[in-house]
């Protein structure tokens, strides 16, 4: 199988890439190609023009500083999974990266590609919304920042405009007495998330839950917050009972997907189980 014919451009700067996207309205950005090329080979997508950003300089790399971490859009899952600095500050994202697909997929696939693709079963979206990450996008009118809570619009749809390139992801600085974790129930064949949960928990001086933020992926058409669970945790002492009671509400009000991999009911159940596990790990790390 090979894709339908397309015109190919390999710009070396973000501005060149944006200019090409502006000129060719039906063009698609090509990053690692590990979502786009399979769909093009199956002819589910037939973009007439590809703008390959693989040779754009300065888009790959991780910077971890006091003010937060920035991850370039072209940074591969393998690089993120292996980053010790990132693991120290934000283990949920290195955990999510390490659980993506397999070694070869992690060597090619990029965080920018995964976020722009917004597959409902992708891992990073849960982490992005739980941590309140920000996406930097550059378009014909310049750069703008989009908070994760506004980035994922619906099934495979993001807030990015067709002529915009996602250039980097920014994670907020690590707060004292906070911890985060990502846990996932992978599809045994593809490793995509049947359900995945990221929990971020901050403790107050007495060790109670000051703030909780829970992101869910895989279960619904797009990643969402478990707001009922978050509210149920706030101000509580965190023990097995309170965590279980809060996690039991994680799927309340969610419109879960049903497909050949899992029924909506099963996904909803997974969400509650994984939420409890993610909270427990996050709390252990916050202490």
């Amino acid at each position: 199988m090979f894709p339908a014919k397309f015109e190919y451009y390999a710009p070396t700067t973000v501005n060149q890439a944006v200019a090409l996207l502006k000129k060719h309205r039906d063009a698609k950005v090509l990053a690692g190609g590990h979502s786009l090329l399979p769909t093009m080979k199956l002819r589910l997508a037939q973009p007439p023009v590809l703008v390959d950003i693989g040779k754009v300089k300065g888009l790959a790399g991780i910077k971890v500083a006091k003010g937060g971490a920035t991850i370039g859009a072209l940074t591969t899952h393998a690089t993120i999974a292996a980053s010790k600095d990132l693991r120290k500050q934000c283990p949920a994202i290195t955990e999510a990266a390490a659980l993506i697909g397999d070694m070869q997929v992690r060597n090619r696939g990029t965080i920018g590609g995964s976020l722009s693709h917004a597959d409902p079963a992708a891992d990073y979206p849960a982490v992005m919304i739980a941590l309140g990450a920000e996406m930097k996008a550059v378009g014909p009118k310049g750069a703008r920042t989009i908070n994760a809570s506004h980035f994922f619009k619906s099934l495979m749809t993001t807030a990015l405009k067709p002529s915009e390139v996602l250039t980097e992801v920014r994670l907020p600085p690590h707060q004292p007495n906070s911890g985060c974790a990502y846990v996932k129930f992978p599809n045994p064949a593809s490793r995509f998330a049947v359900a995945g949960v990221c929990a971020w928990i901050a403790l107050d001086a007495k060790g109670r839950c000051a703030k909780a933020s829970i992101g869910i992926t895989g279960a619904c058409a797009t990643a969402t917050r478990a707001s009922k669970t978050e509210a149920a945790l706030r101000g509580k002492e965190l023990n097995e009972e309170t965590i279980a009671a809060a996690a039991a509400q994680a799927a309340d009000g969610l419109d879960c997907l049903s497909d050949i991999h899992a029924s909506a009911e099963y996904r909803a159940h997974l969400v509650t189980v994984l939420t409890a596990r993610a909270i427990q790990q996050a709390v252990a790390r916050a202490k």
């Binding site: 199988m1 090979f2 894709p3 339908a4 014919k5 397309f6 015109e7 190919y8 390999a10 090509l30 190609g33 590990h34 090329l37 399979p38 080979k41 199956l42 590809l50 390959d52 693989g54 040779k55 393998a78 697909g101 397999d102 070694m103 070869q104 997929v105 060597n107 090619r108 064949a189 593809s190 490793r191």
Partner: protein
């Protein structure tokens, strides 16, 4: 058409190609390096795994043009001065294959893996070959072969051939 320039097994190639040419087809059909196989053609099986700048990659899910400027290593490039790579030898010695279809992909994945983890446990080896499917279900000996190669490479010991093997 577009200009491609890359290095495959140490040799520089330049060509004018159709942009939709996949790396695996460039290697197999244009260069005749048929050691790299196409199994699923849908990014699942790993039979097409080659090294791109040292990293194991599924070449059915990469345009040849994306490899422009890169150094590619295929199974044909592993043998050095007539001597098999320790992984190739270990697959032979441990009967790490049945039909052999998955073998080149398994070995290329393991080459990358052992660079990052020279002393792997059995569980780590099994995790590393998650993206490689063996339809003959020969995983047991594949894992054994990778473990044997790791030990040999770490010790830099000459390979011990099992008795009776020619």
């Amino acid at each position: 058409m577009a200009q491609l320039k890359l290095t495959v097994n140490g040799v520089i190639y330049e060509a004018d190609i159709d942009p939709r040419l996949l790396l695996v087809h460039y290697l197999r059909d244009t260069l005749g390096l048929t050691g790299t196989n196409v199994g699923c053609d849908t990014s699942q099986c790993g039979a097409c795994t080659v090294l791109v700048d040292g990293l194991a990659v599924k070449s059915c899910t990469m345009l040849a043009l994306q490899a422009s400027g890169s150094k590619i290593t295929t199974i044909e490039g592993l043998k050095q001065d007539g001597v098999y790579h320790p992984l190739q030898q270990a697959f032979w010695d441990n009967h790490g294959l049945q039909c052999g279809y998955c073998t080149s992909g398994m070995i290329m994945t393991a080459v990358d893996f052992l660079k990052h983890n020279p002393h792997p446990t059995e569980a780590e080896i099994r995790h590393a070959i998650e993206g490689n499917i063996c339809r003959c279900t020969g995983y047991h000996n594949i894992v054994k072969a990778i473990k044997a190669a790791a030990t040999q490479m770490a010790d830099n010991r000459p390979l011990q051939r099992p008795q009776g093997q020619v």
